[in-house]
């Protein structure tokens, strides 16, 4: 490896170094604040390292990893999202009586996995990244062992993630048996040229799609999502929704778009997208638990992004990148609002806990409102332009069925976001006992304020982000 290789990997190295440093720090000095600060500093350094890395990009490092502008764009998104999760976690765990410091090690290692995944160009690094992302998540989801829900969610995620990893490995094995290569770009062009010839390759491909499907939580691989979202601490749920799913979607868009030229693969993804949009939105209608509702909504939103993915072409890549950024901001903000409302006993979960929130805490209520409106795709929020762009990509590729399903299901979607809004703005009737809501720290205010500000400015001036995407991921 040359020095340029190290430079290209600098963001990844910074994150790894940060995780090791936090571990060493804890060994000598147990302090929540210092651990959180160190992680935040490491993440900031990793973000800053994107620019030196960009100078040597595009570059293939050791045949396992690619570092190009697209990878760096998504890496930046993942690092920034993890930073937000770290800040949220600090406020969240500060209110809890547990050992809190190890959480940051897990968080940073999971981010390492996501970064490897996004940049992988080889089935080995893909699998490595996926496992590096999943294994810390088991711990993160079950981080509050005194809560049975949290443990149950962790166990559920463990079993399903392990199963999906096994699918993926078996698929990779089948593909290797057929083609003799594990190199992803090579494989993609091979499949595109020959189509799924004999039995082994389609079987392998199907298994890999299933493995991805589990991670993305698309229908029919979505069954774990509501339980895990509900059981996991709110910052971890935010991490799953933004970083874990974002990394896989980014990989999908970056490498696998050419495979869609094989008609059967396109058909499978079309069915998955339609089923996700429909089932996600309809099942969300039935929820009274806000975290479960957001879980089903995330299934639907991945479905919307798949519409962009399926549309293919230049516009689609930009559309998906924009959607991913907008969705990450939104979902971080939504779970952030839940996280800051958590007290020492638990999080506000049922709709009833949110009744009249706007009148008790107007600013927080307004932030939550913006996030919900963005999820519903209402103007002046980033979610509006994101949906517009994905729909435009769909219409330009004349995938009418997908565009129509997107339109109809997102109208259904608006309905359940409004249900939450109705609760937020309901007059406090005084009969119900209001659960104790802790005051917000300054860091929480700055964070939520920034997210809301980003959401609105991207909603009104989308070209700010479009310019960046076009230079990098477009």
């Amino acid at each position: 490896m040359q020095s340029a290789d190290f430079l290209a990997l600098l963001p990844l190295i910074a994150v790894s170094a940060a995780s090791v440093s936090v571990m060493v720090l804890i060994a000598f000095h147990r302090g929540h604040r210092s651990a959180a600060l160190l992680s935040a500093a490491g993440l900031a350094a990793a973000f800053a390292a994107l620019w030196p890395a960009a100078r040597v990009a595009p570059r293939t490092v050791t045949g396992l990893l690619t570092v190009d502008s697209t990878v760096l764009f998504y890496s930046g998104l993942l690092i920034a999202a993890t930073f937000v999760v770290a800040v949220l976690s600090y406020g969240y765990f500060e209110k809890r009586e547990t050992r809190r410091e190890e959480f940051y090690i897990l968080l940073l290692v999971a981010l390492c996995g996501a970064l490897v995944l996004v940049g992988s160009r080889h089935l080995v690094s893909l699998f490595l990244g996926l496992e590096l992302l999943s294994v810390p998540l088991y711990g993160m989801i079950a981080y509050l062992p005194e809560q049975r829900r949290s443990l149950e969610a962790g166990l559920k995620y463990l079993i399903l993630a392990a199963a999906s990893a096994a699918f993926l490995l078996f698929g990779a094995g089948l593909i290797y048996a057929q083609t003799g290569t594990l190199d992803l770009p090579g494989l993609v062009s091979l499949i595109r040229a020959a189509g799924p010839g004999s039995l082994l390759l389609p079987a392998g491909l199907a298994l890999i799609i299933a493995g991805f499907g589990f991670k993305l939580a698309v229908v029919p691989f979505h069954l774990w999502t509501p339980d895990v979202y509900q059981g996991a601490p709110a910052p971890v749920a935010a991490f799953i929704a933004s970083v874990s799913k974002g990394a896989i979607l980014a990989l999908l868009v970056r490498l696998f778009a050419p495979v869609l030229e094989v008609a059967s693969v396109a058909l499978i993804f079309t069915i998955i997208a339609i089923a996700s949009m429909t089932a996600g939105n309809i099942l969300a209608l039935l929820q009274d638990n806000v975290k479960r509702l957001l879980a089903y909504s995330s299934i639907a939103h991945i479905g919307y992004m798949l519409v962009g993915f399926l549309a293919g072409g230049q516009m689609a890549a930009t559309a998906v990148a924009y959607y991913l950024v907008a969705y990450s901001i939104t979902v971080l903000g939504a779970f952030g609002a839940i996280a800051v409302l958590a007290n020492g006993h638990g999080e506000p979960e049922s709709l009833a806990d949110y009744r009249g929130l706007f009148w008790r805490r107007p600013a927080l209520g307004a932030v939550f409102t913006f996030m919900l409106l963005s999820l519903a795709g209402v103007p002046v929020t980033a979610g509006f332009f994101a949906k517009y762009y994905v729909l435009a990509a769909g219409v330009s590729a004349t995938v009418w069925l997908l565009a129509l399903v997107l339109v109809l299901t997102s109208a259904v979607g608006a309905f359940y976001y409004l249900r939450v809004l109705v609760a937020l703005y309901a007059r406090p009737d005084g009969r119900r006992e209001v659960r104790e809501e802790p005051p917000l720290s300054r860091a929480d205010w700055v964070l939520l304020g920034t997210l809301a500000g980003l959401l609105l400015s991207l909603g009104v001036f989308p070209n700010l982000l479009l310019a960046v995407i076009r230079r990098t991921a477009g």
């Binding site: 409106l373 509006f384 330009s396 109208a411 608006a414 703005y425």
Partner: protein, 497 residues
């Protein structure tokens, strides 16, 4: 530049009004009034400077064109002609009316109420000014959520249901319009190689008949829900009835007009061929709406619901005028929009005032109000007469022109619609007789119009009389714009064939 201010001022006033409520409930009200008055003055000054120009192809009374999202062909493009000018003035007048009407009605959450009110008005202003289809859709969607809040927070008994119904109807139809906009955008690119969403560029886009039909339907459904057109009207009575007075005034007076505006500004000019094919169906729907709305209005026992159904009936004339598409019918459609906005807005204010005083909207619970509150009853009588088309008042001019224009192209439709005018006399007289005349069986006693209310009523009465007796300045103001639209469809129609 000033055109952008017309949108920015209400937005900013709304944001300002929210925290201002901490200083006292009067603050948000005065801030909103000041912003709307300023907007009205700015609009008049723009009009005075620009004058009655035809509107299309560069000759706007005022125009503003800024780059926005350059590589998608999206621009911040606003333009005002006589057509938009009159609707803007209606917006600001009814805006002021609704702020005044909620002066005593809204006492909790005043700041947030005015935030929503001003944002709705900003969205409506944007709709009347936008010349970029993305911007148009943006403004179109912008007014929905605040209206949803207005109904669901400050509304009456079944407010949540009504607000959801309103939201779902407008949201679905809006998204269908979005698909249509995108389809037109890519069709234009396929034909010319240019990505643009500019209204003036998209006019005359060559489309094959099948595509034009579908795309036009996408637009039509969105506007038909708002207008409303039978059978897409079912959200309207619920939303109007459950909304607070200000919400009803804005819904009936302005939001329905955005549907009419869309038909006249977009549907027919963008798709002249498809619109011509569709015209028989549209005229039929208009006739059904006029008659059905009148019959249902007659059957109502809830005063506010009755007024709401009259809107379904009257707005049928707008649909009729839009698809008859000749100079008489168009002028009539526009006059109907303005006059209906004033008369129905005022009626909702009166109904709201009555409800606030006697806490019921049921006609059964009224009777003999004339003796208790003669001024209020007199005003109600006046606006009912205006609404049922008494000659000499604004609504008459509009509906007469529409009927005269429609008679030229579809005599039978015009004849049937004229029956609707007769029917409106029935429900109008029923309203006056049951609620205001007769014995005061419930021993009601309440104060008559307060000075603030009396002033509002006097101004509205004055405007309706002016529209009815001397509509000439009004007709002159929008004539060039309507002529230009007609010529445009002529040339565009030929380009298709």
């Amino acid at each position: 530049m000033i055109l952008a201010w017309l949108i920015v001022i209400p937005l900013a006033a709304g944001v300002l009004a929210w925290p201002a409520a901490r200083l006292g409930n009067a603050w948000p009200r005065w801030i909103s009034l000041a912003a709307l008055a300023l907007n009205a003055v700015l609009t008049i000054s723009l009009w005075a400077a620009g004058g009655a120009l035809p509107g299309v192809r560069g000759a706007w009374a005022a125009e503003l064109d800024w780059p926005w999202i350059a590589d998608l062909g999206i621009r911040f493009h606003l333009g005002m002609d006589g057509f938009s000018f009159l609707l803007l003035m209606l917006t600001f007048v009814l805006g002021i009316l609704s702020v005044l009407a909620s002066w005593r009605e809204i006492t909790s959450g005043t700041g947030f109420f005015h935030l929503n009110l001003m944002w709705i008005l900003a969205g409506i202003t944007g709709v009347f000014l936008a010349l970029d289809l993305f911007l148009f859709y943006f403004a179109w969607e912008l007014m929905i959520v605040p209206m949803y809040f207005l109904i669901s927070i400050w509304g009456h008994e079944r407010r949540v249901y009504a607000a959801l119904k309103f939201f779902i109807f407008t949201q679905v139809s809006g998204l269908l319009m979005l698909v249509a906009i995108l389809a037109l955008y890519f069709a234009h690119h396929a034909a010319t190689g240019v990505y643009t969403l500019q209204y003036t560029d998209l006019i005359g886009t060559p489309l094959d008949a099948g595509a034009a039909r579908w795309i036009m339907l996408g637009f039509f459904v969105a506007f038909a829900v708002k207008l409303p057109v039978f059978p897409l009207h079912t959200w309207l009575p619920d939303a109007h009835t459950e909304a607070p007075t200000a919400g009803s005034v804005i819904l009936a007076g302005l939001m329905l007009k955005t549907g009419g505006y869309g038909l006249l500004r977009f549907v027919v000019p963008l798709f002249p061929g498809a619109a011509r094919e569709f015209a028989p169906f549209a005229l039929l729907l208009a006739v059904i709406g006029i008659l059905y709305g009148a019959v249902l209005a007659f059957a109502q026992t809830d005063l506010k619901r009755l007024v709401a159904y009259t809107s379904v009936s009257h707005l049928g004339f707008v649909l009729m005028g839009a698809f008859a598409w000749n100079d008489l019918a168009l002028a009539g459609a526009l006059m109907t929009m303005i006059a209906h906005g004033l008369s129905t807005g005022a009626l909702f204010v009166i109904v709201g005032a009555i409800q606030q005083r006697i806490h019921t909207r049921e006609i059964e619970g009224m009777g003999g109000l004339w003796a208790v509150a003669p001024y209020m009853s007199g005003a109600a009588m006046f606006f009912t007469m205006a609404s049922l088309g008494l000659p000499g008042l604004g609504d008459f001019v509009g509906e007469f022109l529409v009927l005269a224009g429609t008679y030229r192209v579809a005599p039978w439709h015009a004849v049937l619609a004229a029956i609707g005018v007769l029917a409106s006399a029935l429900y109008g007289l029923k309203l006056i007789q049951r609620a205001f005349h007769g014995p005061n069986v419930h021993q009601l006693a309440f104060p008559d119009l307060r000075p603030r209310e009396a002033l509002m009523m006097a101004v509205m009465i004055g405007m309706l009389i002016w529209l009815g007796v001397y509509p000439q300045p009004m007709l002159r103001a929008f004539a060039p714009a309507l002529d230009a639209l007609q010529q445009l469809t002529e040339t565009a129609g030929h380009a298709v064939r």
